[in-house]
């Protein structure tokens, strides 16, 4: 089953950076003075019927837009300009439609369970994103949503690879998205997740205060079992690890994953770890790197998009662009010069040292 190759033939990314136009690749990085990054409004009117925009929560708008950009990037456009739906839609989200959930919860509490309207309740379910994309594209295929903290996007991607490799589908749309709201930011702030003072976001990885910066975004990928002129990279696979008890457990899992792909650490031309500027959690990345990738070039991403459950979807977008363009933008370089041609990139992430994951992407 593993010898069927899967290609990333389109991508769309709505994030706090200028990522919606694939012609530009982080050549004008934006730095914000904040501890909470927000996605840039890409001009939703261009992508979503105006009467729907009003009702949609931000996560839905970001995701629908990213998925439409992705399908356009993949060339899935009819002559009349409408989009050709994928065979399946698989999404991952850590916290889903927070804005709608909070809205309904607040009105239920404030109005003492009376005079409530259904819209925010209807849109509060976690699969609203995948459902809305299907509805707008008229896609009757397989439609799945995974909701598991730092495994949300990873699970969606694993399902996508399994379905494609087993021949259930020949193409599909897979993505990860999360939104941050003022309330969820405030709650996680009380839990000690964020930096206590605003910082220049691009300096995140050098900041020594506890905590990281909150982020959000929606990154979608069009995967296919064939290579074509739109192909940007090959997705080799992924591996997950729950609650490891030591660094050696993480490195063992990584080596096992590389071996299953007939690779050794020396074959990896660039590692993208999920460093997020919180010294309590970054230590794990540093130890891991020192253990098996001491001389491998490193690039980082969370100073661009912030921390959220599906941030690895942003990292996969970045890795795909690096392999496609065979260049590493200055703003993401962390350690050592990359040598080209660059063939393999390994993304290693963990969410608060609970859910750890590896994603392997290759030059196509």
């Amino acid at each position: 089953m593993n010898n069927i190759q899967i290609y990333i033939n389109g991508l769309g990314n709505v994030s706090p950076q200028k990522t919606i136009d694939a012609k530009h690749f982080l050549d004008e990085p934006l730095s914000y003075e904040t501890n909470r990054l927000k996605s840039i409004d890409p001009g939703y009117k261009e992508f979503i019927p105006v009467e729907l925009i009003r009702r949609m929560g931000r996560i839905i708008k970001m995701s629908v837009t990213a998925s439409k950009i992705c399908l356009e990037d993949a060339g899935r456009v009819h002559t009349d300009g409408t989009l050709l739906p994928p065979e399946a839609i698989i999404t991952g989200t850590g916290l889903g439609c927070l804005e709608d959930t909070e809205k309904f919860l607040a009105s239920m509490i404030n109005n003492k369970e009376e005079f409530l309207t259904p819209t925010s309740f209807i849109q509060s379910t976690h699969n609203t994103v995948a459902g809305q994309i299907a509805l707008l594209l008229k896609c009757h295929g397989y439609n799945f949503t995974f909701v598991h903290r730092g495994f949300s996007f990873e699970s969606a991607l694993l399902d996508a690879l399994i379905q494609l490799r087993m021949g259930e589908f020949s193409n599909l749309l897979v993505g990860g998205s999360d939104e941050i709201t003022s309330n969820s930011f405030a709650i996680m702030d009380r839990m000690g997740h964020w930096k206590q003072k605003p910082i220049q976001s691009l300096t995140l990885l050098y900041d020594s205060q506890r905590g990281t910066i909150a982020g959000e975004g929606a990154s979608f990928f069009f995967l296919q079992n064939v290579k074509n002129e739109r192909t940007r990279a090959e997705i080799k696979g992924l591996s997950t690890l729950l609650h490891p008890s030591s660094i050696s457990e993480i490195t063992e899992k990584c080596l096992e994953f590389l071996t299953s792909n007939s690779l050794t650490p020396g074959d990896i031309g660039l590692v993208i770890p999920g460093l997020n500027g919180d010294p309590r959690f970054d230590r794990v990345y540093h130890d891991f790197i020192a253990d098996i990738f001491p001389r491998t070039p490193i690039a980082c991403f969370k100073h661009l998009c912030g921390e959220y459950h599906t941030a690895t979807a942003f990292a996969l977008w970045m890795a795909t662009m690096i392999l496609n363009k065979q260049s590493v933008p200055l703003v993401i370089r962390w350690k050592s010069e990359v040598s080209f041609p660059l063939n393999n990139i390994l993304i290693y992430n963990h969410y608060r040292n609970m859910e750890h994951s590896f994603i392997l992407v290759a030059r196509a």
Binding site: T117, A134, N143, R149, S155, I162, R190
Partner: protein, 401 residues
Amino acid sequence: MSKRVYITGIGIVCAIGNNVHETLQSLLTEKSGIGEITLFPTIHKGVIPLAEVKLSNKQLQTELGFHGAKNFTRTALLGMKAAREAVESASITDIKSSKTGLVSATTVGGMDRSENFYSCFLKNPKKGRLVDVINHDCSDSTERIAGFLKIKDFVTTISTACSSSVNALMFGSSLIKAGQLDRVIVGGNDAVTRFTLNGFNTLMILDKTGCHPFDENRAGLTLGEGAAFLVLESEDIVAREKKRVLAEVSGYGNANDAYHQTASSPEGKGAYLAMAKAIEMSGLNPADIDYINGHGTGTENNDLSEGIAMERIFGNFVPPFSSTKGYTGHALGAAGAIEAVISVLAIQNRVIFPNLNFSTPMKELKIRPVTVLRTHCEINHVLSNSFGFGGNNSAVILSKV
């Protein structure tokens, strides 16, 4: 890689039973679990009925062997109880003996506690106990179960509204067929909450007299709660360990109605596609299906489009069907797994459970559900449907081995 996926264990806690045995007894004696709201204060008490699990959080906690405050949500407690029963029923003594994963499902996760947090938080953002909200997200109950049962190789959670746990069963089966895992515990858990009660109430689809699935005079659903898990194992494990097989997962399908965020299409397109895919995968003919455990929520919209889709698939030969939601209520993220367990019980006990609260056939349909318990039935293949918001439609076929 395993061509076939077997069910070797089941566990359940729902409105009609705290375990598989009690649930079966209630099904056989036509004992409904629908009753008055007791779990939380609400203005709907005495007006809208619920199908609650008849155990308090404290009782659940004690039964699971946890003493003192552990900050578990009700969703997680229900999940741990049912998952433990499933693993025990599969006679698994060492969970690490095979590569084992957990795929669970929920719609509102730890909302039962978040809504308490939120009422304090709204008054003052510095207030509200964080322990009441830290377990809010959907993965919390899954990781609690994984920790409780020492499942380590893979965990994930699916949330696709009311089809969530059938989708967990589908994904677990895919993981085994793809050779990723040898054994997957699949299922779902959801506690009833004020959030969901009020949410469905705004849609005006809660029947004040308890649900009447597939009845002409149906007036909506009755919310339920609970958890159910099934142990799926590969051909290899079953052969090597000579396992007792309860049933086989022989087919499944998921499709999207792509019609409306909550309403089903009048022709039941998504439902039709899901059932058709499941039948195609199983390699069976529609005529081979001996019983359909319908989604049958009791809402005007669902039962009509599901009924139409069944008539389209099976023509004049729609197999005996019933909705068991008159017993268990609609347990949302747990519903599909609860009904998968009920389907296994139908196969094992050679019975078809009746559709409670039915009196008048729907005028748009030629078919009517089974209303009296049928025993000594030869049940080789059961089709179970689960449909949800977002147009998410799933069907699974479980077969006798």
